[in-house]
């Protein structure tokens, strides 16, 4: 298990983001194959066979999700690409949109075909100025080259792709909130069921997939679903993009086989910690994932092993924190982010994140009490599992892991009663 470039193979080639360059590298063959010789069911079967799981964070099997779209519904169906990448530390979708937009378009096209959709949306994070420009240019080129539009390749199949930019809300990365936002409503998550596959955008069956997930799909069609199972572990197939950041010598996006160890990612690919310092904590999958400790470095990077280690693979944003890091301050930054991004719909998340922020802030100000630690833990448990969408869990989990795994840091900080100098509160 080591680095394997499937999605990032051509991302360094500046020509690859144009339709000619993409086609020269074998692009759009899968889309042609699908339209000329496959039925929607066959496409879904291939994707199911590959064991591909959603790369947005939840890891739900993609083929299974597609098969949930009701076959007899008289309503139109929609495919939505979730490019609202805003999890702190995650920058993997951005590289695909910027350097390989056609693979995303091709993946969207195949996904749309599989569920019988003639209109696909790409909901891109509003701050992604450059990726939006590149993607829109790519859509334009794809239309001009006949890969999108009416009667594609003479097959009689029509498909339109529309780009929609987000308004800067983290919550709109959650699929129900995304669909609300896409429909022009306030971006707030909705109760499930009904699931979007049954009642999504404008009340019609809708599939929402992550950028990375869709970018994998053309490979599954070209090589067959079986082929994809060569990579990865028994339950976590294929390769995965990791966005390595924090106290690391070579931060960046890396693509590794599922099951590669955290140590390999950090030490071999990332070049270890600067100045030979020690690791204090690792957030393996983005801001919403619980902290891991250096003794867990040999954990394989797959959904199951990370879960066993008490964290989550999430979107693959691996943030490395070295020994100098103040965990209380890190916790404060995390919870403040979630407080800011809570949509405000359900009570525990809206009120809880605010209360947690106040408590951690109080500790940082040297006014904390030791009982605050248990209070923080208790409040987190009152949020955990009690909210409509995973944002509440995302806010609670890293804080729980911080006060449990680094309790001494909190105790020391409270006892010392020292006030953190304000200049250490960047972006306060």
């Amino acid at each position: 298990m080591a680095e394997h470039k499937l999605l990032l193979k051509y991302t360094d080639d500046p020509k690859h983001k144009h339709v000619d360059g993409y086609v020269a590298h074998g692009g759009y063959t899968a889309w042609r194959k699908v339209l000329s010789s496959m039925t929607p069911d066959q496409v879904i079967t291939e994707v199911k066979a590959s064991g591909l799981r959603g790369r947005g964070g939840a890891g739900f099997p993609t083929g299974l999700k597609w098969s949930f779209v009701p076959k007899d519904s008289p309503k139109p169906r929609y495919l939505v690409c979730n490019a609202d990448e805003s999890e702190p530390g995650t920058c993997k979708d951005r590289v695909l949109l910027e350097c390989d937009p056609h693979s995303v378009i091709e993946g969207m096209a195949i996904g749309a075909f599989a569920i019988g959709s003639h209109l696909a949306f790409n909901y891109i994070r509003g701050e992604f100025d450059f990726p939006i420009a590149v993607f829109e240019k790519a859509v334009e080129e794809a239309y001009a080259a006949g890969h999108l539009g009416k009667n594609i390749y003479g097959s009689g199949y029509d498909l339109d792709v529309v780009t929609q930019t987000g308004g800067g809300a983290y919550i709109c990365g959650e699929e129900t909130a995304l669909l609300q936002s896409l429909a022009g409503n306030r971006g707030m998550s909705q109760m499930k069921p009904p699931f979007p596959a049954v009642e999504g955008l404008y009340g019609c069956p809708t599939i929402v997939n992550n950028v990375e997930t869709l970018a994998v799909v053309p490979h599954l069609i070209n090589n067959g679903g079986e082929w994809y199972t060569m990579f990865g572990t028994e339950k976590s197939k294929g390769t995965k993009l990791f966005s390595l950041s924090g106290h690391i010598n070579r931060p960046g996006n890396y693509e590794v086989e599922m099951g590669t160890t955290l140590r390999y990612l950090i030490e071999e690919l990332g070049g270890g910690i600067p100045d030979g310092r020690k690791i204090k904590a690792i957030i393996p999958g983005g801001a919403s994932c619980p902290f891991m400790t250096p003794d867990q470095l040999d954990t394989p990077l797959d959904y199951e092993s990370i879960a066993e280690a008490g964290s989550m693979l999430g979107s693959g944003a691996c943030i490395v924190l070295d020994e100098r890091t103040d965990i209380v301050w890190t916790t404060y930054k995390l919870i403040k982010f979630f407080k800011h991004e809570s949509c405000g719909k359900c009570t525990p998340c809206r009120e809880g994140t605010k209360w947690l922020t106040q408590l951690v802030e109080r500790i940082l100000n040297g006014e904390g009490e030791e009982s605050d630690i248990d209070k923080i833990d208790n409040i987190c448990h009152n949020i955990l599992g009690r909210t409509i969408c995973p944002l509440g869990d995302a806010a609670a989990m890293p804080v729980i892991s911080a006060v449990q795994r680094f309790r001494q840091d909190f105790v020391d900080r409270i006892k010392a009663k020292n006030v953190l100098p304000m200049e250490q509160f960047p972006f306060n």
Partner: protein, 858 residues
Amino acid sequence: MSDTATKTQSETPAVELVTLTIDGRQVSVKKGATVLDACRQEGIAVPTFCWHPKLRSLGACRMCYVEIEKFPKLMVSCATEAMHDMVVLTDSEKCRAGRKATIEFILLDHPLDCPTCDKGGECDLQDNAFEYGLSDDTRFAFRKARNVRDKNSTFDDLTIGPEMVRNQNRCILCYKCVNANQEAFGEHDIGAYQRGHHTEIDAVPGGQVESLYSGNLVEICPVGALTSSDWRYKIRVWNTQTVPSLDPYHADGANLTLWKDVRKVHRATSRMNDDIDDGWISDIARYGYQVATSDRRLKTPMVNKNGVMVEVSWEEALTLIGRRFKEVKESQGAPCLAGVVSPNLDLKTLHCFNKLFRGALGSNNVDYRSDYSNLATDANSTYSYMASRSFSIANLASSDVIFVVGSNVIREHPNLHLKIRRAIFEKLGWLYTANPFVTKSGDCSTDEMIYQPGTDEVFLNGLTLSLIKQGLADKEVDTAKIETLLVPNTIEKCAEICGVSVERINECANRLAAAKSPTLIAGELVSTSSERENIAKAFYNVALLLGIPQNKRGQAAILAKAANSKGAEALGLSPELTEGQTSSLKNIFGALPELQGSNWDAILRGAVGEEIKAMFIMGANPVQIGVDHSHIKKSLESLDFLVVADLLETPTTALADVILPLSSFAEYDGSFTNLEGRTQDFTRGMKLVGSSLPGYEVLNLVAEKMGFNLYADQESLQDEITNLLNSYTAPERKLHLMESHYPSPAQAPENSFPLLVGDALHHYGHLTEMCHSLLAFDSEATLELSADLASRLEITSGDSVRISCGKGEKLILKALVSETLEGDTLLAAHNFAAKPANCLTSREKRVAYVQIEKIEKQ
């Protein structure tokens, strides 16, 4: 009668049940019901904030947690479907802990200003915190703060609507108001702004919360975040008692609760009746109780002495009335007496009115339709037939296609409007509306067809022809002669005249023909038209071709507008009686006068022509509301003697010789028959204002002066009414297509625009001018015009506009540029006595064409 209305026509398919265990009890509920529904059905209390029985679950407040076996997390019962063999615990330790946590979160920033909060005593948060939030110690250490504007206090009142005050500090952000406003009312004037903890509930920027249903948002607010200006700080809720009442204005018959203390009524709220109102009431019904408490009420009888109205005793007034009526009867004959009564009065009053005139005075000249003109003279008219067809609001829920013609539903039937919305959204059904202007119902309609004013029957005939030409008509109806019955007789010609394209008419016809259970509704624009009979025939033809009068499917009716129109019709308050009515009334009154009575049209003509000498008008205000101000005024002025009984001084009382003070619906017990024929009771909420009396008592006193007695006691009176209602049968007829000719219209004068006169959005008839809360919404008469027309005439909202018609009448109104109106049609409200918009209408002309010009500011 009420039985036929409640009977639903839909076939009831076998309901699939699921059985689950809640707190050890076996509960069976309909498939698709939520766990919360099951708990409520079983009488198990589950606390909620954001949930409302008539709205889709939001799942936002996280209060209704239950523990369900095999589910690792606590589940919100409002959004969890009940499944077979579920084992639910509603009061376990885990549940209580979850609810306590939610209460704790909510109270974090909720000010504990309960002693001075208007919601205190009826606050869900108080109740739920008391039940679930008790704790030995507090864990709060921070200053309470949400969006405090004034740093020195937690009071942060902001007026966000004419009748709405918001206090964001108290808001628990359950989004119930926003949800109801959008889902149930289709309004968007209240919304959530900012995000997360800083979320604020507010009116749209630059706007106000002023929809017709805004009062409901206050009522459903679980805390004191939204309060109504009307009720704030008047009285503590625990010092009030409640009595059941009814919407005294609209024919839907929405149910109300009146909140009163020993002195008076303080507010009205809804009283949920699933068949009629779903717990939503219009602001007119909500604030309409203020007619009872208004300063403008008449408190004593008055007599015109040498041109001056002088307050007198009841005795003096009654003696005068008795004497004058007797004189007229003896010198000129009973047919010289006429009575006009408002269909907004209760059944007892209506019946006594009939009894006074037909039984005691011996005149058949009674009518309740003083708002209308060109009335049919025959009880078997097609209009009467279509107006008395059975109609059930509950049946809307099973209607797959709803068709509305000539009705601005929201203004005529505010609750029916909501029921239509709900039916359309729940069943994903089809709604077709056809009106001469854009209406609110168009928001949720499949196709909103706008026809030229005054071409109602042409549009309907187009639909008839379309049904026949496409072979969609009921096969048993003889359609062979259709071309000789209708003028014009081709779809193309009809389309050209009415301005709705052939394709749209065809599509509507197709959808109606394919419907399993269509509902066809016609409204005030048909009733008030001078061509009402012609339109009714055209409407009847469409219904016939769809098999509705044959009772094959669906329902079709011309709907009455007033709270008791149906009651007035059933009690025989118009000169045209069916045979059944004639014999029932004979039974009760002993005998009926021989001479056929005059209807409202004939009464007015008779007054000018010296055939009618004395008149008694009760509750009605034809000078202000009727068609053609000058004609009515002239007629009433020609009378020798006019008695008017009303709640306040009106343009009609100004012409009276005697004015009698009438009590409002809040001051006595009575009943109304709603548009379905459902008879409901309302209860006295306060003592009689001044020396005013309920209508039936006034009538009995008048009768006594002439030596009659209208009723021995209330019970016998009630029995007579019940008998009449029960024996009433709607007119029958042979089922065949009717003639419907479009009279070639008079050429519209140049530079003139069609004007329709009706109710303002927040008013009904002439009484609501007494309600200060309703005046806060619409304070004066306006001329509504479309943005397009306004820009052509360079008129902006607020400009004074002079409106003139051919008769030389002029009226100056404030312009209101409407975003929803299209085309050249103008709308003017008749609810304000100072600006009688009906002076622009005419009994001869079908459509009033008026010229308008802007008055330059000095």
